[in-house]
Amino acid sequence: MRYNFFKDIEEGLKSYPLLHWSNKDDKRVIAGRFIAHKGDIEIEEYEVEISFSKDYPHDMPFVVETSNKIQPRNATRHIFVEGNLCFGNKQDTLRLCKKGISFKWFLDKTLNPHLCREYVRDKTGEYPAGERSHKAEGNWEGYYELFKTTDKESILKNLSLLVAYPTFSKNKECYCGSGKKYKRCHEKWLPIIFDIGRNNVEDLFNELQTDFNSYKP
């Protein structure tokens, strides 16, 4: 079925009646109150303003917490310079969004848990599941878990397959330099690599490549 943006948003608004369409600087945004909750337990009320990039639903919406309850408004509380909340590293978010997300899923499974953990951070001084390192290292960390290695070079080689996908063949020599064909060597990584999704990985790959090179003597 063809994706219908407005239907998707309406579906989400049905479950969150405190949110509504609004105008902000000639732009249509979703604004209103969002109550972080678990079932009937209302945890904390935030005011939010949600807008959508052209990549939506293949990227997370932009959310600005306009009630200013999350302080200080910088990277320590995972707020971008632009003022929007950062939900996770690129690696994590891209993988989640690769098949497209729905607005209701986003509110239930991303915004609500995110505001809950910011609430926990306010009350206890800590994020319940820890947090990623800042900057590029935080992006690497996702791949460390995915490929079960901290060898940045091998991670880059794996990702390069994805970036070079159109010319990729399992019958070519494996990137690891073993001399074997890829299908007889590192093929077990293939499902993981394709699970990352090809659409947006190129930018991230370039970013990591640059970061990797910057450490070289």
Partner: protein, 390 residues
């Protein structure tokens, strides 16, 4: 961030923390007992742990913006020496970090402190103050760095600091700048200590306590305050008589609402000395002036006794009859809170108030715990477990 005032359960002693909406933190006194650190006994609250969680960090080093030591008695500064950093802030080392020593960006220092030696913590405070004052005297380039800042409260005792008058705030003034930052909606009205005590025959150190009122507005342009909290240290009824007289004389009770209170930290751990001379059986009638002070209570105002459990005996402080006098001025027992038994004697926790547009609201701990548990469970079920930011 919500503006909060926390009163910690520290036995017969004082320790309070004021948190402003921009994260600025002000600590009033401390009584960090050795056995409270890492305490697993629910009867003894681990106050240092909560403080570290509540305050900010700069370059991984814990700091508070302002420390106000009302006076130098050990139940107001116990643990200062080992839990707070003393010395050049640029020399804070891994060793200090490991010991979780808290940097005090700006200390408030009453020259009445350490006129004579009583305890090591007080001496350490005096010494650190002298270190900072020397920098200011020498006009050292680093004197305004956080960790070197200092404010002198009240008048000089034996030592002469008149060349540092630009650092001084005397009774009757409103302080709006804390740690080099002007606050728009928060201020402090200084009530005491006074000059008079210097010549007074009353040699009780308690009467030289700093007394101040913490004042919160919702908007800087508002005339009215949404929260007023009175911190009296160990001040006695003599001090309060002068406070009352002076404040009225300069009409600060009307113009500045300088006597009104939503929260009143019962002076000297709910001692009879606020009402009259001790012992109470010799002076059983509370002085008129002390009762007048309590009449400045605003709607739903609460009295906090930072002391051990108050029982019906002759002990002082806390004093049972003093508690009864306070309760007479309140709407009932519920407005009188004792840090030692809140929420229960077997597991005291800080008494926390939030300053909201609706006024000063007591945080219901059970409800808070329920919300926190819910938030943790939702947060840990998140698909993206860990937040990140570039």
């Amino acid at each position: 961030m919500k503006e909060q005032i926390k009163f910690y359960p520290v036995g017969n002693g004082d320790q309070s923390l004021i948190i402003l909406n921009d994260g600025t933190t002000l600590m009033v006194d401390c009584n960090i007992r050795q056995d409270s650190k890492g305490s697993t006994d629910p009867k003894i609250y681990d106050v240092k742990k909560d403080v570290l969680k509540s305050i900010g960090q700069r370059n991984d080093n814990p700091y508070i913006d302002v420390f106000i030591l009302t006076h130098g008695d050990c139940d107001h500064c116990r643990g200062y020496k080992s839990n707070f950093y003393q010395g050049d802030p640029t020399k804070y080392s891994d060793k200090n970090r490991k010991a979780e020593e808290i940097i005090i960006d700006e200390m408030w220092f009453s020259p009445m402190i350490a006129e004579e030696h009583t305890n090591d913590d007080e001496d350490a405070y005096q010494q650190e103050a002298e270190r900072r004052l020397t920098l200011h005297r020498k006009k050292d380039a680093s004197r305004n760095l956080p960790g070197n800042r200092i404010k002198i409260i009240g008048y000089d005792g034996n030592k002469d600091y008149h060349d540092l008058n630009h650092l001084r705030a005397i009774p009757g003034t409103v302080v709006k700048e804390f740690n080099n930052k002007i606050q728009n909606t928060f201020s402090v009205f200084i009530h005491a200590p006074f000059k008079e005590h210097l010549n007074s025959a009353e040699k009780d150190r308690n009467s030289t306590s700093i007394v101040f009122q913490a004042r919160f507005k919702e908007y800087s342009t508002d005339k009215d305050f949404i929260g007023l909290a009175m911190f009296g240290g160990d001040s006695d009824h003599y001090s309060w008589k002068i406070i009352l007289d002076k404040t009225k004389k300069y009409k600060n009770d009307v113009n500045e609402q300088a006597l009104d209170w939503d929260l009143f930290l019962a002076p000297h751990h709910c001692s009879w000395s606020f009402f009259n001379n001790r012992p109470q059986h010799a002076n059983p009638e509370p002085t008129e002036t002390s009762l007048d002070v309590l009449d400045y209570r605003r709607v739903e105002g609460k009295v906090i006794a930072s002391s051990k459990k108050i029982v019906d005996d002759d002990d002082n402080p806390p004093h049972y009859e003093a508690k009864q006098e306070y309760i007479k001025k309140l709407d009932g027992d519920n407005d009188f809170l004792n840090t030692a038994v809140d929420p229960k004697e077997t597991g005291p926790k800080p008494i926390i108030f939030e300053i909201t547009s609706q006024g000063v609201i007591r945080i219901n701990r059970e409800n808070e715990d329920k919300k926190l548990a819910a938030a943790i469970s939702v947060a840990s079920s998140a698909i993206i477990k860990k937040p990140w930011c570039k």
